[in-house]
Symmetry: C2
Subunit: 113 residues, 2 copies
């Protein structure tokens, strides 16, 4: 499985899992969080490998739809970068220029909501 | 209508409107954003006042369910307060103590996600 996709799905799952059914959550958490194979999950739930695969593909699409509507992961990434920049400024010399940049970052954080 | 509830519904609508149907969005925006009465909305859409009322009550419940699951409004309020505190610190003398408090706030902002 591609690492980039796994990371993205882990985050999307983290943000939107409450909007999924318990079955969707089960398969997704076994597959993405616990790194079980499709075959192992199929065995665990006594269903076909294809059924698990279809369910996971559908759930991935649902998660992407939620992200398209609510942008929680996208905002999280922007916020994390801004907070990282802000931390670096606050840990530095904090010149007048740094203060201005910090206030600008706070403004951008406010606008993200 | 109670102001406090109106404010809350405006925010919940703002955060979760993309998850509503277009009809739910129509009624809610007329009622909460544009301050139309139930009667005016009923006339506009050629339906009964009761139908509009029922739809809005149902939509309010749906918005509250989303909030219960995703907590976007709750996190927004906490974030807004933290950013306000941070702005005040950055606009002040920025002593060593202020810097520490600022870094603590950034930590709390990170943990909110």
């Amino acid at each position: 499985m591609m690492l980039e996709k796994t990371t993205r799905m882990n985050y999307l799952y983290d943000f939107y899992q409450e909007l999924l059914t318990s079955k969707q959550r089960d398969y997704m958490s076994f597959y993405y969080l616990d790194d079980f194979s499709l075959g192992e999950i199929a065995e665990q739930f006594s269903v076909s490998r294809q059924a698990v695969y279809d369910n996971i593909k559908r759930t991935e699409a649902i998660l992407e739809q939620y992200e398209k509507k609510l942008h929680l992961y996208e905002k999280f990434l922007k916020r994390r970068q801004l907070l990282k920049d802000l931390t670096e400024l606050l840990e530095g010399k904090m010149t007048e220029e740094d203060r201005k940049r910090s206030l600008q970052i706070v403004k951008e954080l406010n606008e993200l909501d």
